[in-house]
Symmetry: D2
């Protein structure tokens, strides 16, 4: 069940990005009014529960997260408390059933990512890893013991996870990974992991690391839950990677394993090959598709507010200029379209009718359009865009990263191309 | 043979787009398959009636229209029989209630335009004028006598209509029109119309011409139903405009009125100003938004087929090349997104929740994306694209026109910009 | 009247593009004026001879060609007299030395193509085939006898040529051609050609057909000059291809050879493989690069004139709108840049320093930018764009074809990519 | 005279970004080779002096600047020693005549900015301010005393300048500035300046601040040279602006003047209105146009090297993929075109034939294309792009700022639009 706190949300949340909206007097009783914040009325597609969840998440994000993000981004300081706060609100692993998870719809879970990413894609990344990649993976592939052990604590945000797939030499092509799992030379019932993973969100702070490695018996990829507390000194290192161009409010690192022991009981029992990690990624990618719409919407709101306030040439607000209005119209359109597409795929997912290619499509398109429009909107700020106080430059930098991770857009193009033509063009 | 007619159907809303949460079974053994012709499963949003109507329309269009279009386009010959055939199938004015109209949902009527435009935008234009602009206008603004007189015959395609708004000097800005309606100097109960309208689809073959003119008493715009059979010689001319760059399978002309008499009973009783013609256009624009997706889908299907068959360089089908796959992936994505957006607005329209800006948004975006993708897909045909037999050049030429009529895209950008900012940028 | 002929002129290089430093006087009282027709003063890079040649060509094209093009395009009627008129003015094969050719600079020859393409890309295509592909090829690869026999008559436009490389199944990849040259079964000193060529500009009216075929002895590609007058009935057919989407003012056809006899003396003596046809294409592509700038400039001039005259919304010329001005600014910029690049490559060509990749670069970029800008400019005409009388739709349709022939842009991208990376990506 | 050190440059410089270039074996003796680093042989347009100056600047920048930039950018630490080093090499105010300046051609000075911006746009900004805005302004508008006093020291980089035009509320529209110059209430021969300037590169470290203010007598804009050492405490503050999204290797600040006294002798004698600052900006914008080509070229070199080294899918270097090659081909083309255009305008400038609109054109286009291509190239780095060690993210962030300062691209579009149409569209 979703927690009671979530439902107690009578007071409508008002947040900085929503301020400055003029009273809509053109909304007479008879005519419905155009709402630039939801131009194609996507809200009409949501259940009451979903609306309530969305509102709770938005309120938390605007009131509690937003004030932290500027400093976090400047200094690359991720505040891990955020995950426990989200856990308290029931926002982690929210679409999973049982084990202390709320069991909400896929769309509802996407609305949470949208609320978080409206603040910052890095915060959303931190949550996606916990919720979709790690909790989702355990829920999908874990034994009941594994689920019992990890999920309730993770749902509360008291145990943090990370997801180790990408390696220094293998990004778009994880099937070529070099990390191995072999029998422990001395300890029965144990395997040892060797190899290195990189660009791993949350790895420096993770308690449990889901690591994908090639299994000694079969050469096939299997998944392992590495518990940091059980790793002897020198077998596991998770150095942070600093000086990032984007997602600076999230924490990223490596996973270096040197004969790192892991009990056989911490291996996923059945899943083999790339279908394991790809299933996890699929779920995370869904969250990105709806999440990036939040970032884009925040860019729109910030640009609109700036353009209405900023005056140039005969004291006109620059929002009056055709070139500015076109940028806004384009962005608002793409946000509206992307939201509808993500809702549709969420519904299909819950019905068991979604395919991985659908996820590729909305992940690619929504990241691309969010990035592209955010860049264009940034132009409206002129020289002021260079100041991080306006926030839009942070979104632009973040959105570029969302376009490259969990499947760079070109890779998704070729996944779609293969589905359309039946022909493989990766080589 | 086709179904006799579109059945009357209530406007039930599909459920899946709107459901909250549902049982998830995405780990089931049988995986759903990706369908490049409907990548985001928009079909799941349609009622059974809508699917049946769509199928009927598609079958008619592919079997009966398609074989005629190449010659029609080459020679600028519009076959007016098409409208009577469509009338027999119940496809004209299909979303209107009563007066011999089928009363289907807005989405269903859009699926019909999509089926027609999959063949040719010119054929769809001919139908849109009859269904949305003229029949829709009469249904919305006409007296009961006017409705009784015109709608049943028009629904059968036995009486043809055209819509006279645009003038030679007033396209994007119809409020400046010069056509006037003054009292008839001698004939009581009659007015005379003077002025010229241009780029009027169907004007040379129309039996009834809906003409918008400035009314003598008020200077405000009013609508008139001019019946050709009742016009004395020399008062009404409707010369065809030939040598068009696009929409050559439709017939276009002028309306020249020289003291053209029209009975007061043929004036719309209440509607005044631009809200009359704009309401009609709104309805037609909805049809264009879904219609152009049909044209784009046809471009995709033709390109895909060509790319799978055409072999270059070591006998590889060119569909295997990354640059070709990306073009297809982009087009398929835009078709899927545009279809969802149009369905959503159709649902809102039937619920009375659609705003004109929503229509501006989907008309603009779907025309723009259809055109842009069609042009890129055309590149796949290489030198062969220059031959009209491949059909795609025809779509490209047509889609450019759809982008410019019923509100050129820049105008819709400024309509959206005004709605977003509250500021007028038309100058 | 026009100058009798282009004078023979040495290839002097202009100085200003190459000068080091010069006295600066930019603070002088008399400010130089911006010229939208030559925004970066490319004229300053031309010699007096080149300016004179350009002027002669422009005057002929505007006064004699332009009045014919509308009907020619509508009806797909190519007036072959145009080539003899151009011959009289010395505009054919103008950059070749000797044999009755003018021997002007490469840039001068490009200025001629620009003048012609300012009227119509189809007319330019007809000239390019005669001048660059056929005369150029004979001049480069022919024996002295072949040159003496063909070039003087061709320079006068009294003998017409065509260039047969592309086959129905082999466009981008001509190396896979199927046309063969084998010893004549009975006639000594003769070969027979078998095969079909398609999309051959001028083939239906050509007197001499330069055909590329695989040679019996080596399997390598060789070039042959087929003289129509000497071909027995049934051995050579050149049916016209009608109903084209673009280049309708040029004539296009096939070449069908069924044991078509050709004397050994009509084979090029030395050139073997694709270097023969590619050398010819290189020369023609240069002409396209500068030629398409003429078409783009004409689009700019037409759009500017229309936008200054057309008034909407409070009687403002639409040229006053920001969205219109941006379209013009973009187009003018690309025209200016493309012109400079083409001049530079022309200079390098005359110095023996041009590489095929340079030609790929300017052919691709100038065609792409001309097409892209022409399409955007066409939007300014709104609904009127559909009328062929405004001319811009014709340019748009033509420019699409220039993008696909003589190396579709994607092919040139991969040629450039190969030159940049050293890796082949054609698969 | 240019300093001797500049000429002693026998050893060809090899730098990191040029490494990894394979031996060009395809460059046989007879055929010229394609050079991806200078695809249209722009070098052939340069004098020997210009080539030598370029080489000196490139060597200095690669050997001395490049090692500093990563830390400088990370920590927003501008090393002011760079300007004195450049002064020693004669690179400051290089195109000015006399007063210790080298008096090289405009193109040569642009080659210097290109060399600097190949390392970092922020370093180039720091130099542009010193050279073009301040030294250029003094040279153009100063009295001989002013020139004698400031230029020699500034040329050596021992005295630093900044340029104060933009105000917090007046960016694109400086004519509305609020800063004033009024007679000093007590001190004869002195004026007092009041107002604030923002986004002023180098202001926190400047010794001399060129400030534009509205003059008491006329209300017209005049220019003043404020010497920091002479300002009483509390009359001049120049706080740095930190936490920038781009140009972090340059130092930026405000200028706050509170009754700041300035002697009348420090006012420019004749220039009045916006023509003063606009002339300075024109010169700086020229440097940006060629400078940004350096940044783009560095992005190309870095991307090419990465793509040749990075292997994915069957161990192929990703440089072999069509989608990667197209990105490179596009970028290389735009770099080549932009370079030619900038050289042409440089030549015209020295001949007194350049117009401000030409500068607008090349500033806008080269910034836009550099930014756009840099962003696309960044995609090639996939997830690794987020690391600042690859450098390309820094260029992307910098280039966005170059697009917005010294005339945001939309403003230059409207300047061009006005020149093309004769109509003003700013309001």
């Amino acid at each position: 069940m979703f927690r009671p706190a979530v439902r107690r949300c009578a007071r409508p949340f008002t947040t900085s990005f929503r301020q400055g909206r003029a009273a809509r007097s053109y909304a007479s009783a008879s005519h419905p009014a155009f709402d630039w914040e939801d131009p194609l009325a996507s809200k009409s597609l949501l259940t009451e529960d979903e609306l309530a969840i969305s509102e709770t998440a938005e309120r938390y994000c605007q009131e509690r997260m937003l004030p932290r993000v500027l400093e976090a981004y400047r200094n690359e300081n991720y505040d891990a408390k955020i995950l426990s706060e989200m856990g308290e609100l029931g926002l982690l692993g929210s679409n999973l059933e049982g084990y202390g998870c709320a069991g909400v719809s896929t769309v509802a879970s996407g609305l949470i990512t949208r609320a978080v990413e409206r603040v910052d894609s890095g915060y959303r990344s931190g949550m996606s890893v916990q919720s979709s990649l790690v909790m989702g993976g355990i829920h999908e592939f874990g034994t009941d013991e594994q689920k019992q052990k990890f999920l309730p604590e993770m749902a509360k945000g008291k145990m943090l996870g990370c997801f180790g797939l990408t390696e220094p030499n293998h990004g778009s092509d994880p099937g070529s990974m070099e990390t191995t799992a072999r029998p422990h030379p001395t300890k029965k019932g144990y395997l040892v992991l060797n190899g290195a993973k990189t660009w791993i969100t949350n790895s420096p702070i993770a308690d449990v690391l889901m690591v994908w490695a090639k299994f000694h018996e079969t050469g096939k990829i299997r998944g392992f839950l590495v518990e940091r507390k059980d790793c002897p000194a020198g077998t596991l290192e998770t150095p942070a990677i600093k000086n990032k161009n984007g997602l600076r409010a999230s924490i990223t690192g490596m996973i270096q394993m040197d004969n790192c022991p892991v009990p056989e009981a911490n291996m996923f029992p059945d899943v083999e090959g790339l279908s394991g990690p790809f299933t996890c990624l699929n779920s995370a990618r869904y969250g990105i598709a709806l999440g990036t719409m939040g970032a884009l919407e925040d860019c729109i709101a910030r640009t609109r507010a700036y353009a209405l306030e900023r005056r140039q040439f005969k004291n006109n607000p620059i929002a009056k200029y055709q070139l500015v209005q076109k940028k806004l119209a384009d962005a608002v359109t793409d946000a509206a379209y992307g939201t509808l597409a993500a809702i549709q795929v969420g519904r299909l997912k819950d019905e068991g009718k979604a395919t991985p290619e659908m996820i590729s499509m909305i992940k690619r398109q929504n990241c691309d359009r969010a990035l592209s429009n955010a860049r264009v909107l940034q132009e409206v700020f002129g020289g002021n865009a260079v100041s991080d106080e306006y926030g839009i430059g942070r979104h632009v930098a973040n959105l570029f990263v969302t376009q490259t991770y969990e499947g760079q857009s070109d890779i998704h193009s070729l996944i779609l191309g293969r589905a359309i033509t039946g022909l493989q063009a990766f080589v």
